[in-house]
């Protein structure tokens, strides 16, 4: 093995935040490598502070290290200062657990949570000492793979990844380990060994091997993506674990020695979401809803707080207020201090409709954490289009209860550039913010509302996958409207995401394989850490597009038609394409769709296709608020549902 620590020490004395690179977290392991063990290097292609808390990576780290025939270590993208030092001294990418060179591992596994990290993936592969293009790798190189939400359209990275995993990783990592172990123990030898192991990997459900597919174009148009060999599936289906209760991970959440984002205990209370917000890829691709049993959540919270010494726990999911037992759970955590100190509870992704006064009261007994609501759109019409059926009264009720319980600052999150959006909808955001301030004044002297606006990026496997994204100038114009509108409003702060970055996110989100050359070009011109505003450079991207004869407008701003072959049509998140198309038509008709966990199935495909079901403790929706939460939606036109079990042709 190659321990790079002795050479690394003097370099760490020269870089910012060297604690990023030392490992030693509580919960980390120093696994013993061996000939019969598959060595995984789990790579988060962003800085340590962003990557360390990632729960997906931590879950796989534990599952793999529990296996007698696997070891897993972690690494994160070295910041530009250390990268320069590593390259100057001829040192490779290394694991933070034992400071072992990346070349000592059999698999480099990337977590892809955001599009703008794609150039960092190439940089990490290169720093690992492997050719960035999969086709150029030989038996001496590790297998390079990726998982995470962005892999539902892996095509822009298809040239660089040996294989891609769709969906929940808990089970499939073990199946992959079995195949890779056989490859490793055979000595990876012979000319055919790498293609052979890839072909074997391609037969594992949920594993996609891009090099096993032929891609055909006619002019600009993508015509087909088809398997080149027998036994390689025409359509790769995502993996879904049926029951979260069987996977109480992470059991030993990593406790970093230095400051990171989300520096607290995280306990996943459920996976999947069927609220059906049409812009939300996470809600579409992670169906069905699988709640963790209340008792297991309690145990994980209690043991986790004791073990880590944290005084804050986040109950994570895509919409935590929807957890069946959320009120008693929060009440008990607050009422029962662990380690002799009050525990603060944070509920990310709080829907305003289910935010009852009860929960607000419970949370504020502990130390008060930040409160963010996501109305997403400024008008009721717009919220019908995106199927986020919360009424203004719901928001005002939630905000009022927050201010009355002692909060002084509330953050509201919105999208702009949504389908059918008009300036009335955009300016509705400012109206909502102003009204929230008014409500705040009833309870506090100087209430404040932070309005955070992000440009909407259409994502694969959502009803909006056919929508042409707003241009950079259009998003700038809308943000300008908002800025003018709230300029004189005391207490309202407006923040927005850079529309230029939004454009490139859109490019990578729905791009095809031809973008591989562009990503490589941007990387070769130094375009790493593009998700960091101080490093993002639109010119790098537009220049690279021009050099490769590709058109940003065509990829990002163009509406797709129903018959168009989408770059991800040969992959499946379980959702029927005609369900998504119907939902897109409903969106344009401003027709809402109810949450299916408490109402009959409308056969999106996620359950019926895989013979799995929702696991939800409560048969009735939580009280209060709207959309399946007790609100009378009679005044809303809802789509009539197809009968469950009706066979529906998948895809086009």
């Amino acid at each position: 093995m190659t321990d790079v620590w002795p050479q690394l020490e003097s370099l760490l004395a020269k870089v910012q935040k060297p604690a990023r690179y030392i490992g030693l977290e509580d919960g980390s392991v120093r696994p013993e490598h061996g000939a019969g063990k598959v060595a995984w290097l789990l790579v988060y292609p962003d800085t340590y502070e962003i990557g360390l808390p990632n729960q997906g990576l931590q879950i796989l780290y534990e599952i793999l290290n529990e296996r007698p025939d696997a070891v897993a270590e972690r690494t994160y993208a070295p910041w530009v200062d250390l990268e320069a030092e590593l390259r100057a001294h001829g040192l490779p990418l290394f694991s933070v657990d034992t400071h072992r060179a990346a070349a000592d591992f059999d698999v480099l596994a990337f977590n892809l949570s955001a599009e703008l990290v794609y150039t960092n993936v190439l940089n990490c592969i290169d720093l690992a000492g492997a050719p960035v293009r999969a086709a150029d790798r030989g038996p001496e190189h590790p297998l390079v793979c990726a998982g995470g939400h962005c892999t539902y359209n892996p095509e822009p990275l298809a040239d660089f990844l040996d294989f891609v995993v769709l969906g929940d990783g808990e089970e499939v990592v073990s199946e992959i380990t079995d195949v890779v172990r056989a490859w490793k123990t055979s000595g990876r030898n012979g000319d055919r060994s790498r293609p052979a192991v890839l072909r074997e990997l391609a037969s594992i459900p949920g594993v996609y091997v891009p090099s096993m597919y032929d891609v055909r174009y006619e002019g600009d148009k993508l015509v087909s993506v088809t398997p080149r060999f027998d036994g390689v599936p025409e359509r790769v289906e995502k993996r879904t674990i049926a029951d979260l209760a069987e996977w109480p991970y992470p059991k030993q959440q990593l406790v970093p020695l230095t400051e990171v984002v989300h520096d607290r205990l995280n306990v996943e209370v459920f996976r999947g979401c069927t609220r059906g917000c049409r812009f939300c890829q996470a809600g579409m691709i992670t169906r069905p809803v699988r709640e963790r049993p209340l008792e297991q959540v309690r145990t994980m919270v209690d043991a986790g707080l004791r073990r880590t010494g944290y005084d804050e726990v986040a109950l994570t999911s895509l919409s935590t207020a929807d957890f069946s037992d959320i009120e008693p759970l929060v009440r008990d955590i607050i009422a029962d201090p662990v380690n002799g100190q009050p525990t603060s509870v944070s509920l990310p992704s709080l829907r305003v409709d289910a935010f009852t006064v009860g929960i607000a009261t419970e949370i504020q007994k502990g130390r008060r954490s930040g409160l963010t609501f996501a109305p997403e759109a400024g008008s009721w019409r717009m919220r019908q289009v995106i199927n986020k059926l919360i009424r203004e009264d719901d928001l005002y009720g939630a905000v009022g209860s927050a201010y009355s319980q002692g909060w002084r600052r509330v953050k509201l999150y919105f999208l702009t550039g949504l389908p059918t959006e008009t300036d009335i909808d955009t300016l509705g955001i400012a109206d909502l913010a102003r009204n929230c301030i008014e409500i705040g004044r009833e309870h506090a002297k100087n209430p404040s509302v932070t309005v955070s606006v992000g440009g909407f990026v259409p994502k694969p496997f959502t009803p909006f996958q056919w929508f042409g994204q707003n241009t950079v100038s259009e998003l700038h114009r809308k943000i300008g409207l908002l800025r003018d509108s709230v300029r004189k409003q005391r207490g309202v702060q407006l923040k927005w995401h850079d529309p230029k970055a939004t454009a490139i996110e859109g490019l990578a989100s729905r791009g095809d394989r031809r973008l591989g050359a562009v990503i490589e070009d941007v990387w070769r011109h130094g375009g790493t850490f593009q998700e960091w505003s101080e490093r993002f450079d639109l010119d790098l991207w537009t220049d690279a597009m021009a050099r490769h004869g590709l058109d940003l407008d065509w990829y990002v701003y163009r509406h797709r038609t129903e018959d168009e072959v989408l770059p991800w049509d040969h992959l499946s998140a379980g959702l029927h394409k005609d369900f998504l198309w119907q939902d897109w038509r409903d969106a344009l008709a401003e027709v809402g769709l109810e949450d299916c966990r408490w109402t009959p199935c409308y056969d999106c495909g996620a359950c019926t296709g895989y013979s799995i079901e929702h696991i939800v403790a409560s048969a009735t929706p939580p009280a209060g608020g709207s959309q399946g939460t007790g609100q009378d939606l009679q005044f809303v036109e809802l789509r009539s549902r197809p009968r469950a079990g009706t066979p529906v042709e998948v895809g086009a």
């Binding site: 003097s10 030693l24 010494g309 380690n339 002799g340 100190q341 008060r368």
Partner: protein, 239 residues
């Protein structure tokens, strides 16, 4: 009741910053289940009192932390102070070892104000120790060592000489004692006034280690905030 800990910082963990160490210690105290006294108010925090900051990348044999615990009921002591070194070291990352713990008078001057000087060992990298020794002797022979430092964006003229209490070369190591008040001198500042200036050893593969912190009494007698009594676990945990 106020408890003072003396601990080391060495190995990989030396690359954590002062604030990182503060957080690590706070979490470990909580995990040990100690009845920490909390601050009042909206966002209660445990009452911890840290000593002088140690630069990121430097090692130390003598770091200190004071913290307050609630008094026990009746004769039962709230905290088994003698058990703390082993108990806390087991909860801390390798390289941070609690060597000693003792109850101190809560009226005692805070560590930041009480400590008057520190002893340091700085390794000599890429230079002949004898030459460095001669240069050190030159420095000590001077009446003043004028330097210009930046304070709040303004250049300030200063004399380093009074703050250099001891300076000698032992083997391939510079051993020095530097004042921390009224005007403190950092090891890197000392190396910069050598002729030619010497870089910080940690950027050259060398080590900088704070070996002692000293409190000077009114009569000139020097003592450490707590005496080190190496615990048996210290060796095994060092890395």
């Amino acid at each position: 009741m106020r408890v003072r800990l003396r601990f080391t910082k060495s190995g990989k963990v030396r690359f954590t910053g002062h604030r990182d160490v503060a957080r690590i210690l706070e979490r470990s105290l909580r995990r040990a289940g100690l009845p920490l006294t909390m601050t009042e108010g909206f966002s209660p925090r445990p009452k911890l009192h840290f000593g002088l900051a140690l630069s990121t990348g430097y090692e130390s044999l003598g770091e200190y932390l004071d913290f307050d615990v609630r008094d026990g009921d009746g004769e039962a002591a709230a905290v088994q102070v003698s058990a703390l070194p082993a108990q806390l070291t087991a909860l801390l990352p390798p390289g941070i070892n609690v060597e000693t713990a003792a109850v101190i008078d809560p009226r005692e001057t805070s560590l930041q104000q009480a400590v008057t000087s520190c002893s340091w060992q700085l390794s000599i990298v890429g230079r002949e120790p004898a030459v460095v020794a001669a240069k050190a002797a030159d420095l000590l022979a001077r009446d003043t060592i004028p330097v210009t430092r930046e304070r709040k964006g303004q250049p300030v003229h200063d004399d380093l000489r009074p703050a250099i209490l001891r300076l000698e070369v032992v083997g391939d190591t510079i051993e020095t004692e530097l004042s921390t008040q009224p005007r403190g001198v950092r090891p890197a500042e000392l190396l910069a006034v050598f002729d030619p200036p010497m870089p910080d050893p940690i950027t050259e593969g060398g080590r900088v280690c704070r070996t002692h912190q000293w409190i000077t009494a009114a009569d000139g007698a020097m003592r450490e905030p707590l005496h080190a009594t190496p615990a048996p676990h210290a060796e095994a945990r060092a890395s």
